[in-house]
Symmetry: D3
Subunit: 222 residues, 6 copies
């Protein structure tokens, strides 16, 4: 037996043990204080791989918990789609952790517009029914109906979408393999800025009238 | 305008266009057929980064969808904890995607035993209330009560746990930053094998009686 | 001096030195034979990170050289754009090297259609003038005129394009930060497959007529 | 149809739509502002993976374009070799992008001295003829003549070189799989510093006279 | 011959050569000054991948050498185990280098307590005999006796241990695949903090008495 | 004299050397369904990131232990340097683990020739005294005397060396941040193959006589 109850009940011995163990622990883990986690400090410079780390001495359990997804995003929009996101900029505890989460609410007839992002997405349907799919670089479309409890993986970067194909609202969660997935919606990317219509026409083959109509709806110019 | 309705209604022109576009598309994306995704083929050799890829010609939408999490795991066990996992070995579409998912069901009084894995975990509470936490390499414990809709991040490798702290069953999903997180439960790792009790005693400081008691409960020998 | 002319001119001594050095070299580098490079063998299984390696004993200098880019791609298509690609599937010497190259030829009025891929792209203009740009995830468009010798970086995944804005043909090379960048053209992804028009309408906000028109031109169905 | 021309021509409705879409867009992409790209700010601290990011609010299209390669590097030197580099320190838009580019000009009889760097290099010959090659860790040399339009891949770290083997000047571009490849020339590394000649002799087997001669030419001491 | 002894003995020519070569060298490697290495500056912000880099102009050979492991760690503790660590926080030259080292001294009867860390560990026995092992995620234990000169690899994250099984003190070195491996000792993680005993009981199945006994020895509360 | 004909012409001694080397090169192993480890199976195809995994069902503790470093490498060579390597090809348990180890033995006056490899190296001196150093891409040399117990880090790819600067043999261990570091010795790379002398002259500035002399010693041709 390494420690007898007797000796461990000896206060002097306990103090000695604690002091020694503290040395042991310090020497073993001091290097890791800042790197077990790196809660983002958005006031410091950021680098290619994320935000700078918040002072570990000021980190508490609250830094690792986020409640923002308990509220549905606003679905009163063209897509009848509400998104609540937990990315590193909203939830800095994710900084460097390689994961983030989005809550998607879809009204009846709603859709997550076709989009892309740097990393994989894994979606789970909590309520309702959707048709979800993606298109690969050979232009093959893979899509399927997902019911409550079904999950689907969307490979990195490939264009994908989800549509409420049922008669009730949809609640789903999407997990991403990065704390900042970089979500880009094709339609808003094309029509909600100052890209000249003629340029868009050349690079998409869309008709001028269609382009101008969507620019008007989405707030684009030129 | 690049193509007039007139010309595009010319069958010969359409054939020409399709032929030309097919050349264009082939030359642009043929290299990517096997690498937009790499659905695991568990009958082929695996490597450090995952399974070999299933023949892309045989891949269908079904390869990217999994329904196994719609069923709760068995909770009739010591921890009153049921886990349904969607890792690459159950859901080969995850191979190379860097994401996986587990459904956790906790009866009243149940717990996810303290465990570790290679990658980050992001958990979301769907039903019930839990106390979740992790311990860093300075032995500081970070734990907090999570209610429905709350999420918490657990850094890579650090020991962590979840306990049903409410009066109703808990349903939660945990997303992992790898298709094979490598989940290791401390208690079963120590007591459910043939590690000699004396060895366990030396490397844990646990009493011999405690070790033998848990070995008996969990099926360990020596 | 380590080796005197005298001793090194002793044939027996030279044999001994060579024998001994060969042992030294073998023990130092035998581990690396297969891993200095991994020329792709497309007949073996592939994995998430690339093709299996060709037998190193059969590798020659030819495996590391490719001449396919000396020929312009066919520009007789809707976009007046020809692409010659050197990805790992055409040039297996690139397997595992993290780089690939495409030659882009643009006729007057031609364009590289808006597209995306998993990795960064760095383009250099050899002949002619283009307007090149990308759109970030806040829908801000960054575009500029590039002349001979100018280079531009396109961040991973973000939608981008190049248009011949001059009065002469354009020759440009694009380098990618992966041997299989996974190039996806938005227009062909949407309209050159069997995605139902109604689905496309919901996820893009495009008009039904526009969708059907482009499906007809590009060979899509439904 | 999601939006009728009628309703979209209603100014109040448009304002409403824009407001709602702006919410949608904000919630979807705010996390990514700093991470779609990370233009290097060389005045801030740098980390192992690159420079800190320039304030995204100050980023313009100019940050992603570089014209420095339109000018040939000075070839009036021992190797008759001129290099113009576009690495992150000259072209901060490359920071975190994993790509960089060098223009190589070789006079008749010129050579890119044998060198090494951390990452792969992919070279394309624009004008002239070269003999290019590398040596693997088994001391096998792989070298070949490259003509206009040919490309060659050089694996990470392995010693390699390019020599103008023709009767005209050579223009070539080399793409690297990192924004800071870390190019090291063997000859200047050995002879252009204060490494004691005896030390160089021991670790290279070169003769003392040869070492001192090259130190004199290249500016080394000791 | 590129440079004749004659010309190189011409002072003017030498100056010219040095000037030209300096241009060449500058243009080739200026981008890499900060990135050949990134000696950690612990006074600047850190990020997910490590510390900020010390000003390269102030870096000397001393930054890359560390003598702290020549002294044995204190073995007067419960485990009769002394650890001297060379992690990036003690030896900032390791920052970004992906390696670190620990010296382990074990008295007769001593043990490295069961622990885990983010990365692989490769151990070599310099003096003495140990029993070393790890447990995989299937609860299978792999352990073996190691004598002087033997090495053993411990996969990332998996629980592992080393015990002095001989009659003499043990000296061993452990190399880690990261400059900050994040070493976590199971016993001190569980019993040297304020985790409520009831919580520990639920997530480990340990008896309340055992938990309280070890908390007392190790300095835990609650 | 470097090699006494007497000792090295002793057939028994040569047989012993070959036998020991064959032991170093011949040892095989396995991996796990959940990828806890991936012991290399050298009979299956390899990929860019390593060997295929051995059937996990056949894995034993022996797969993770290697004794080959308990034997010194042969130092009867030009550099008076013996290397015993534990790379994945000799010790397949390292496959995918990101670590490897080499034992270096240096006779009095011996040296590890200047070399490079893909990854960082961390060396520890067990016996004797060395001068160790590296050169950065600005041609600055960082070198220092290391005594027993000192460690030094060598950044990835940069040219580096170790020289026995004492009056006793040196024993040191070098840990690498990859299971296959890809060690390349500059001198043998240049002079132990069929690279034409004129080519070497152009890319190194070495004199023709020096090149031919070293080719003769090291077994190069042309």
């Amino acid at each position: 037996m390494l420690v007898s109850p007797h000796s461990s009940s000896n206060p002097k011995m306990i103090f000695q043990v604690l002091f020694i163990v503290s040395l042991l622990i310090t020497s073993l883990s001091s290097a890791d204080i800042a790197f077990d986690y790196c809660v983002g400090d958005l006031t410091l410079p950021s680098g290619p791989t994320g935000y700078s780390c918040k002072d570990p001495a000021k980190v508490t359990a609250d830094d690792f918990v986020y409640s923002g997804l308990s509220v549905a995003g606003n679905t009163k929009n063209l897509f009848k789609f509400g998104a609540s996101t937990a990315f590193a900029s909203q939830f800095p505890g994710l900084n460097g952790m390689g994961l983030s989460l989005t809550r998607a609410d879809l009204e009846v007839g709603g859709a997550v517009p076709i989009h892309t992002h740097r990393v994989s997405e894994l979606i789970i349907v909590i309520e309702g029914t959707i048709i979800a799919g993606f298109i690969d670089t050979n232009n093959t479309a893979y899509y399927k109906t997902l019911n409550k409890g079904d999950i689907m993986i969307f490979p990195p970067t490939l264009l994908h979408f989800q549509v409420n194909s049922g008669s009730t609202p949809v609640l789903a969660y999407a997990c991403f393999a990065n704390e900042n997935p970089g979500i880009q919606l094709v339609t808003t990317s094309l029509f909600r800025n100052n890209l000249p219509s003629e340029l868009i026409e050349k690079v998409t083959l869309l008709d001028d009238a269609q382009i101008k109509k969507l620019k008007k709806i989405l707030g684009g110019t030129n």
